[in-house]
Subunit: 275 residues, 6 copies
Amino acid sequence: MEKFKTLEIVQKSAKSSVFHLYLNRPSQRNALSPDFFSEFPKALSSLDQSPDVSVVVLTGAGRHFCAGIDLKSLNSSSEPSLSGDRGRGGERLRRHIKALQDSVTAIERCRKPVIASIDGACIGGGIDIVTACDIRFCTKDAFFSVKEVDLAITADLGTLQRLPSIVGYGNAMELALTGRRFSGPEAKQLGLVSGVFGSGQEMDEGVRIVAEGIASKSPLAVIGTKAVLLRSRDLNLEQGLDYVATWNSSMLFSDDLTEAVSAQIQKRKPVFAKL
Amino acid sequence: MEKFKTLEIVQKSAKSSVFHLYLNRPSQRNALSPDFFSEFPKALSSLDQSPDVSVVVLTGAGRHFCAGIDLKSLNSSSEPSLSGDRGRGGERLRRHIKALQDSVTAIERCRKPVIASIDGACIGGGIDIVTACDIRFCTKDAFFSVKEVDLAITADLGTLQRLPSIVGYGNAMELALTGRRFSGPEAKQLGLVSGVFGSGQEMDEGVRIVAEGIASKSPLAVIGTKAVLLRSRDLNLEQGLDYVATWNSSMLFSDDLTEAVSAQIQKRKPVFAKL
Amino acid sequence: MEKFKTLEIVQKSAKSSVFHLYLNRPSQRNALSPDFFSEFPKALSSLDQSPDVSVVVLTGAGRHFCAGIDLKSLNSSSEPSLSGDRGRGGERLRRHIKALQDSVTAIERCRKPVIASIDGACIGGGIDIVTACDIRFCTKDAFFSVKEVDLAITADLGTLQRLPSIVGYGNAMELALTGRRFSGPEAKQLGLVSGVFGSGQEMDEGVRIVAEGIASKSPLAVIGTKAVLLRSRDLNLEQGLDYVATWNSSMLFSDDLTEAVSAQIQKRKPVFAKL
Amino acid sequence: MEKFKTLEIVQKSAKSSVFHLYLNRPSQRNALSPDFFSEFPKALSSLDQSPDVSVVVLTGAGRHFCAGIDLKSLNSSSEPSLSGDRGRGGERLRRHIKALQDSVTAIERCRKPVIASIDGACIGGGIDIVTACDIRFCTKDAFFSVKEVDLAITADLGTLQRLPSIVGYGNAMELALTGRRFSGPEAKQLGLVSGVFGSGQEMDEGVRIVAEGIASKSPLAVIGTKAVLLRSRDLNLEQGLDYVATWNSSMLFSDDLTEAVSAQIQKRKPVFAKL
Amino acid sequence: MEKFKTLEIVQKSAKSSVFHLYLNRPSQRNALSPDFFSEFPKALSSLDQSPDVSVVVLTGAGRHFCAGIDLKSLNSSSEPSLSGDRGRGGERLRRHIKALQDSVTAIERCRKPVIASIDGACIGGGIDIVTACDIRFCTKDAFFSVKEVDLAITADLGTLQRLPSIVGYGNAMELALTGRRFSGPEAKQLGLVSGVFGSGQEMDEGVRIVAEGIASKSPLAVIGTKAVLLRSRDLNLEQGLDYVATWNSSMLFSDDLTEAVSAQIQKRKPVFAKL
Amino acid sequence: MEKFKTLEIVQKSAKSSVFHLYLNRPSQRNALSPDFFSEFPKALSSLDQSPDVSVVVLTGAGRHFCAGIDLKSLNSSSEPSLSGDRGRGGERLRRHIKALQDSVTAIERCRKPVIASIDGACIGGGIDIVTACDIRFCTKDAFFSVKEVDLAITADLGTLQRLPSIVGYGNAMELALTGRRFSGPEAKQLGLVSGVFGSGQEMDEGVRIVAEGIASKSPLAVIGTKAVLLRSRDLNLEQGLDYVATWNSSMLFSDDLTEAVSAQIQKRKPVFAKL
């Protein structure tokens, strides 16, 4: 795997197809820098394409998950935009924001599940990132804030689009308007995370079990489930049903189905080919 | 009412307009067979059309609600699909899946509320069915699993389309990717069921009270509420508001409204004509 | 501020930009009269336009928030509709309902956050109103009911469109079909309210703190957050991201951003110009 | 093939997979009766299912294509609706209209292309039917009218939904508001028909050539083209592209592709298996 | 009828329910001024509400239909927007544009058909207006241009949204990117107008006949046709069909239907009550 | 500009900002090879980013525009797909098709207008490409065919999604089901091209004039027009209006507007800065 300035990819066990992707600027509490935004989609794309990878665990190096967007990411874009023609500045800024959004959406483009494992701060841009992940876990000491409003910013990297479908529209509005800090246990109660662990260590172990569990399943069924859920989010019911029927007309009768059925009859663990 | 191989319709009290529809293959834990898929829409259609029926309670005969799709339902479709032309096989399989989906969606086509009453296992295809129901209750001993991923299948009978709007998108993704078992109380906490009862007997009584409560209301308002909620799910806000205004321009000033207002003034129970 | 028959606008402190809008017919438990429907959008429009107002707190005068639609609102419309040509009556009734809906939707048209503060009854039309608000709080003694079904009415002022995205589709269906009463604490558990207070007094203080908190933030970021969340509700993900990027290309680099960044560096409270 | 009261199915040549479906009440200028609405979907379904059928030509027996809806179809529904409860009457009428619509939409549910061949009158309900067809031809003596407005009816069997995408929104509005008669050549100029023939005889021969041409192509590609065009009408661009990619992942590499490529290399006509 | 500075309402014959609405600043070639934008919705609203009006003919006083937006409309908005805070300026400008759009969309809010009768220039904002009308006619000397691009403006009053569904997406793009002038006959060939007349006088007579024809029909069916076509533009096919069925469940069995059927049987002209 | 194997970029005059992009495999009639699909988005991206480029003219080297997809493009994807696991093969094939689609959609991602200039054959994949262009011109000798159906393929590179909005749904279905050849003049009559020229030479000159005309306009208004038309295609009317208002709140008051207004007052040609 490639080397990155702001990220690190770690395969904790050679036998495992679970790969860890670290936000890796612990001294800045993993604040999102311009480098991050260009490296993140590359890292996810290489994890997506590698047949050795089944599941990605996204986590922060050090005590915190992510302190939000680095002011430098903002500055680097602001200078050209603020000077000169208002119209051209607006057009450049719009493209700049869309490029940052696209970097976050790389999580959804990765066919394989991305699990966020959150300790410490998960603030501003950190929320944008974890809401784009497929599953989220945190520790009881994690804390969250849709912080953009306190910087006089309308959050523009995905939180306002993705959070409502996860925690409900009412909760999303309250969190985004107040920017208030909320804890790991409240995140669980809101439906933002699927589980809260007592410590980082417990979370590492707990997330490992979930990730290995998914990694042991049919990779075709796993990516199909992610793809169909994502696609159905934007289709109406009838369209969503038609879509998954069309999908499965291509992918249902796979070697994985044969193996899963055999294994079940023979009461053994199935073994699936890589994808 | 018609007789069915895989279903039974029971009117527990001659005075009641609440009808019970049983998944009725208890020895197979009510696994969904090819016969089920052809009989289910017929049963619901006859319940929908009968003026004697106000509310349908869907439940499983025996200890379990439903163990999921019968492997035979899969096999019967797989044989023609796997042999011969890949293209024609795909086309046939797509139609087969759409026919199965259509059988489940019969629950939504039934104008009258369908309440799922769930004890024991509710697995795979069982989840597809209960997410299509209007209200769900279970016992504390019920257990659930979006199991398809363990059979190397991308769930294709509606769970991936309906579950997110019930339990939130994040929870739906986690349940569908892990296929993990969850209990009745967790189902309540997730919003999948509206209540958990201590035993099957308590649930029977509790669901009876809810069902009779709905059955005592204006049938026109009840089917209107179901129809408008279902339709609004796929419309944007402005379209949904316009739709219900148009609906009520036809159906608001009914005999039921007159009766409801009179009864309220006269402090008596209203009595509504059958639909 | 204008005077109203059914509403009262109160600025509790001359220094505050938090304004209170009272449903003000306490003797009728603030039931929604024809006057209310014509005055409500006017009141919200004037609050929206006044640069002195940052946040609106909507609450009920007296012990109850709102007992629902006044039967007179219904009657005044029914007479012309029931007599004469069925077709023309339907057309008039449809326009009448759309006008009532439009009055409630004035809450969303107000660019500034509207916080519902709910004590006592919040019934029928009261639910239509609070689901259109941005944030909701209640007391432990508040009680709620989607009551329309008991009047033989398919709820048509917005509840069936807005409630599912707040409490989940399953809960919305159950509440709307049963019309059952639920308490403040259950409203919190369902996600309908963001907090429950022990008494009306505690709520007044609690809501005041939240409202002043929002009022102290950049007004541009606050209205942007509300506008983008509302708009994104009806767009798909890609469209929502593109929308907020376009929005921020116009409004990100504001004086408020400069002030917020300066204040943060200087570790002082930011002060924003009125909007 | 089944026998029908209002329709006739004719296979003009035993060697041909082009089947003709006649509206067959020439003495009533093929006006659409209650019997028609129940028989039409059955006829199309049997044509869809028969492997001997590749293409359906829909035409009128006698001098006219279709004079519109039979007043009896309207009457049979009006009686129950006009008497009794306004609300229940409205609900019944809504279901009645939806059933009539569903009968017309059977043309789209038929996987195989349906070509309308139109001589003489094509009025009111006749327009509803031909706009649901896949291709339309007419004679120079054919005449058309979106006539419903002259019967004080808002057209409700599909014309207002399908006509705008065929002739443009502006033309559709003008034709529907004026109800004016327009000729075959104008229908061609508007894009409503793909060709105009000098006489019924010439049209028979011309349509035969088009239909046999389609019938000689890969049935899988033909039904795929119809299905994807219909589906894409209701998806946005990105969704439509994703849909056809998913469709073809199942159906592209068929025996038909192999045969088509071989035939092209060998410079011979391809021969495809039935579907 | 009210008096306006920029508009004039004329009822040419006391017996007629066709009313003419003139853009009435002939010395400025009816350029759209700030006054126009505030008066236009008021005029259309009063025409909509008056039971004496069945059809509105929108035309220009003097030789030209409309020369486009008055630069003063632009200036009045630009001054506050260009000075001061970029963010606040953007927010104000956005509201200003939406208010202008809303003024044009008043044509669609008017339940009754609005027919544009176009002679001379129809430029820029003139195109925005006529594409919002229901039917369009012009003279052979009329000329059109989507002119905004030549003023360095992305057209923002509706042309880019409405023109593609009228003339096709390809034609709309070409006209909007080139801003080229096109003639009345080309407008007819593109589908932008329903007819071209040899002179203004001929058009007056021709449009009068069309307008009186519509005015003689059931007002309920006429407004239903307009409303359902407008609504269906934004719904998918299935939703559009369901909508019109729901609409007609309220409005089909009107006195107008009875009258229309009677008149047809008695071979006389039907007479409908005002709306 | 970069060098390509299958494409050539030509700036015909050093003073011009109109650039020509040639499909450049004339000996294969510019059939679309695997190389083409990887080079095409790169070429368009570099043209998009270069400030020297205002307008792109896409044309074919030699006598023909494009003979369609090279069978090799198909083969290279078919081999891995046909062998091995049916499920994995389907998944790979789906990604392959999406990658090809994405290459064509690069035309829409290019902010600057792309004008197709078509002589000779425009077949199959050639139609996919030109329907993604913004404006199309052809010679009278050009000929077109939605040819995929004759290769037993459901067209999957965009034609079935884009053609209906250009030529109407009815025409699109007829062309796609019959695969028949149609001429330049018919393409004009269908609305597929904006103009037909007598010869390739005349087209070169005619397209040059159109392209230079667009190139002389405000680049900000030109890309805004393209962007808003593309975006509005997938939004409903109200959303489209809101979108362009938001867009212009950022980009309306540009230096280009100032220059355009000054130039108009001073009756001179405006000169705009590069983008």
